[in-house]
Amino acid sequence: MSEARRIRLLQVASVLAVLAVWEASARAGWVDPLFVAPPSVVARAFGAIGGAALIALGDTLAKTAVAYTLAVGLGVPAGLMIGSVRAVHDVVHPFVVALYGIPKILVLPWIVLLLGFGTAPAVAYGAIHGLFPILVLVIGGVRDVDPALITVARSYGARPWQIYWKVILPASVPSVLASLRLGIVFCLLGVLIVEMFAGVRGMGHVLNALANGFQAAQLFAATALVSAASIGFVLALDALNEKLSHWRG
């Protein structure tokens, strides 16, 4: 058997084993089914939450899409600019790092206070969550461009804009893509937190309500649904990444 097959087998077997142990311990009463629903019940719960959960997921994803567009539209160009203009970088970078480091959860109450309940705070908070990792990664990517390549381009007579266009931008593609990948997870995270904290709709609100209602099976099903959506997005971005930075080893 090839190693790839063995590994695939091991992965499937482990997932099945975890599910089996989980199912068995729930049935045997080792864990309180009120808190941990067995997989078989969770599977059925997908049907129970069904359409309502999908609508909630759609709501969350729509907010995430707006937040993500804002974060990317602002973060990538700003990151490229800060990264490539030395003077701006020196002045601004400490602020970016500080704002990146501050847990955004601390400003969450304030944002909800300002923007109320509903869509606006979720979008704003999601965008803030995504913006800083994007900025930090893009700035880092631009700063890491091999200076030897810039020298080569200069020796061939490249003008500043040509250096930007033909060297800095293509060299930054991997870090921009990495920032897009990280950014979407962070935006979704931000939206979900607001929905949990002060939501009236959306998946975060649903998860919270299910937890407060001690509906473990539905809660697990809903959690799996959001997780699958997020993993799907990241895998799609990974595929795009693979395609656009095929020149890397």
Partner: protein
């Protein structure tokens, strides 16, 4: 010189704008910086929240436990996956996929399972800290040049010696970076947990102050929490610098 002047200008500009905007606006929503100082004094003097210290200590304790668990789990799992090729190739991609899930989706389940006390915060802090540490250990073990292991073995190094003299120094750089990120995330996990639902701790106080529209107190509490966070990060960075000096 001019750089720091610009930085100072930006900082004071933001503060001034904030002050002006806050004075013009609704004082419930906007707190001018000048109003924060008295609140901060009241807070630190234990006048506005007499039990502040208990909350700080609770949060710090939750963080410490969550982080300790995350380090133990992360280093253990990371070494296991990094040291065993088949295990690594089977489980590392699964871990990476789980890492792509915004962690907060797990929190309601943890809250359901562990209740509203410290346990759910610790569990969430652990979860957040565990991933970066595991992935850093994994990356670290992969980053060590296998040729160096061969070289050490050819000089008769035992497996233990290979680990201590080749693997550990080789991955230390990545490892301490992961440990520091792990701490930052464990801290965030605990505080997010406290804000989203808890009975005590800094996050709860913040939530409470906001709920009562005590916005100046809210900002003061945020500042105190930031001090807690920055302290933990400074400690981590000292350890990190120490370790890096040791490696070079």
């Amino acid at each position: 010189m001019t750089t720091s002047a610009f930085r100072l200008a930006i900082l004071s500009g933001v503060l001034a704008l904030w002050e002006i905007a806050a004075r013009a606006g609704n004082p419930l929503l906007y707190v001018p910086p000048s109003a924060v100082l008295p609140s901060l004094v009241n807070l630190v003097a234990l006048r506005s929240y007499p039990d502040l210290l208990e909350h700080v200590l609770l949060t710090a304790r939750e963080i410490a436990v969550a982080y300790a668990l995350a380090v133990a789990g992360g280093v253990g799992v990371g070494c296991a996956l990094g040291g065993h090729r088949v295990l690594g190739r089977a489980y590392a991609p699964m871990l990476a996929a789980l890492y792509a899930v915004p962690a907060v989706v797990w929190y309601p389940s943890l809250m359901l399972f562990f209740g509203l006390d410290a346990a759910s915060k610790i569990a969430f802090g652990f979860l957040l800290g565990f991933f970066p540490i595991t992935l850093a250990v994994l990356a670290g073990t992969r980053q060590v040049n296998p040729h160096l292991v061969t070289v050490a073995r050819s000089f008769g190094a035992s497996p233990l010696a290979v680990f201590a003299k080749v693997l550990l120094p080789g991955m230390l750089f990545t490892l301490v970076g992961g440990l520091r990120t792990g701490l930052a995330l464990a801290v965030i996990g605990v505080i997010v947990g406290e804000v989203l639902g808890a009975k005590a701790g800094m996050g709860t106080l913040i939530n409470h102050a906001y709920g009562l529209f005590r916005t100046a107190d809210y900002v003061a509490l945020v500042l105190v929490t930031l001090v807690l966070i920055v302290t933990s990060d400074v400690l981590a960075s000292l350890v990190e610098r120490r370790a890096r000096r040791w490696t070079t």
